[in-house]
């Protein structure tokens, strides 16, 4: 008689995963009109150069001549440019956070979703990226107790960085298009900054 298999796994969880995989895919309805990624968008690198469409008023910053600073410097940068230090309205703080992301990481297409997937902030209306970010954030959370950042290549020289951040108002999912995946130190700095932006007043 062979060793019983079931003590090694959770049959209910296995069945749930299996049944989910056997369901045919249905495109979720979306009310958001995609501005940047049309039917040719495949989700990852393509043969064509990546050319995100930005709002007319937004000019993507040039990539920095040097690599972003390392962890101790990042901490100082967060402190110096910390969007939460000079508090204002939530929108003011988010806007400063966006500017900081652009300055530090040359990030474009920044958006923030709440735990229900609703859009809190979006400078690009990339609806398909919202869905991708939400799915990746959920998938990363299934692996362990707390979700880490996930990144996925979406074009030549373009990576979607997805960073779930626990805040007083629940988990927020930050999405940003960057040229290269962020280092763990940079991710930690971004998480800290967004957590402070979303923190309620003292």
């Amino acid at each position: 008689m062979m060793d019983p298999i079931y003590p090694w796994l959770d049959p209910i969880e296995v069945r749930r995963l299996a049944e989910g995989l056997m369901k045919p895919h249905r495109e979720p309805p979306t009310a958001v009109e995609d501005a940047g990624f049309d039917q040719t968008f495949v989700g990852y690198a393509t043969d064509r150069p990546f050319s995100p469409i930005a709002p007319p008023s937004f000019t993507p910053p040039q990539p920095p001549a040097v690599a972003p600073p390392l962890a101790p410097v990042i901490a100082a940068a967060v402190e110096a440019a910390n969007p939460s230090i000079a508090r204002g309205s939530f929108l003011d703080r988010i806007t400063r956070f966006r500017d900081w992301m652009r300055q530090q990481f040359s990030a474009t297409g920044i958006f923030i979703l709440d735990r229900e997937g609703a859009v809190i902030f979006d400078e690009s209306s990339h609806g398909r990226l919202h869905f991708l970010a939400r799915s990746l954030a959920l998938a990363s959370r299934r692996q362990g107790a707390s979700g880490g950042n996930v990144h996925v290549k979406i074009g030549a020289g373009a990576t979607l960085e997805v960073i779930p951040v626990d805040t007083a108002y629940g988990c927020l999912v930050l999405g940003a298009v960057v040229s290269d995946p962020l280092s763990p130190a940079h991710v930690a700095a971004v998480m800290d900054a967004l957590a402070q932006v979303a923190a309620p007043p003292n």
Binding site: M1, I5, M22, Y44, A45
Partner: protein
């Protein structure tokens, strides 16, 4: 065209044997079939062509955008059956980069295969669900998973399902054809019990009815560089793969109807 990745979490579960003989079964039925060796170990090529280590192949296509598909296709004596070997780009044997690194090239490859008029592209991948294998799965229409009928293999099923769930986020249209039990030994209690346990564990539609037995014929066929159905005494084994082909065709029909 339909593209099917033959992939598994574990190695040594009979992926290559299944891929070769299933591709042959489709080709015998008149389906214009391309069998692609996406395993850097080059098992398909080593099994079916003695010069496989000299052939340009799939990994060369990934590495060099200048290589046309035509240079890679190896015809066989069966008009409807062609191969693409794994190729010479041996640096992939060390891991081949992260997931997503070759997605565009894999998709370009599949587009070229479709444009060349193939009905089916069956891709034998390396073990694991990451790296180039992940890119192949994230580009394919469907996946089937060979699973050795033994207890250790069954215990890896949760990890397999988690990996597939992640890949399905990246490729939502991926159709999971199911798990195919391989190397089943009806004279060994541990093997039949493992097969029964897997069937009890997973939804019935996720496990193929057809099982691939462990059989010395496979070793003989591989030694002679032939699909098993070509051997003089291979008719019985060929019937197994014909049955598997029928099951796959039945599973693909509803997917095709959904468009």
């Amino acid at each position: 065209m339909i593209s099917i990745a033959v992939s598994s979490q574990k190695g040594g579960v009979g992926k290559t044997t299944l891929s070769i003989n299933l591709a042959h079964a489709f080709a015998r039925a008149g389906v214009k079939t391309l069998l692609v060796d996406a395993d850097p170990q080059g098992s398909v090529g080593l099994s079916l062509t003695r010069q496989s280590r000299l052939l340009a192949g799939f990994y060369d296509y990934l590495a060099d955008p200048g290589i046309p598909l035509e240079r890679l296709i190896v015809p066989t004596r069966l008009e409807t059956f062609s191969l693409v070997a794994s190729g010479q780009a041996s640096d992939y044997e060390a891991g081949g980069g992260g997931m997503g690194a070759h997605l565009a090239r894999v998709r370009a490859f599949l587009r070229s295969v479709a444009a060349r008029g193939f009905d089916l592209c069956l891709i034998d991948t390396a073990a694991g669900l990451f790296g180039v294998t992940g890119d192949v799965i994230a580009s394919s229409d469907a996946i089937m998973i060979p699973q050795q009928a033994e207890p250790l293999g069954i215990r890896s099923v949760p990890k397999l399902l988690e990996g597939l769930s992640r890949l399905r986020v990246m490729n939502p249209r991926l159709s999971v054809l199911g798990v195919c039990l391989t190397m089943v030994q009806n004279d060994l209690a541990e093997s039949t019990e493992a097969a029964a346990a897997l069937r009890q564990l997973l939804p019935p539609e996720m496990v193929f009815q057809t099982q691939i037995p462990r059989d010395g014929l496979f070793v003989r066929a591989s030694a002679r560089g032939l699909p098993i159905g070509v051997l003089e005494d291979g008719a019985g084994a060929q019937a197994v793969f014909d049955s598997l082909r029928s099951e796959i065709e039945a599973k693909l029909e509803p997917s095709a109807a959904r468009g």
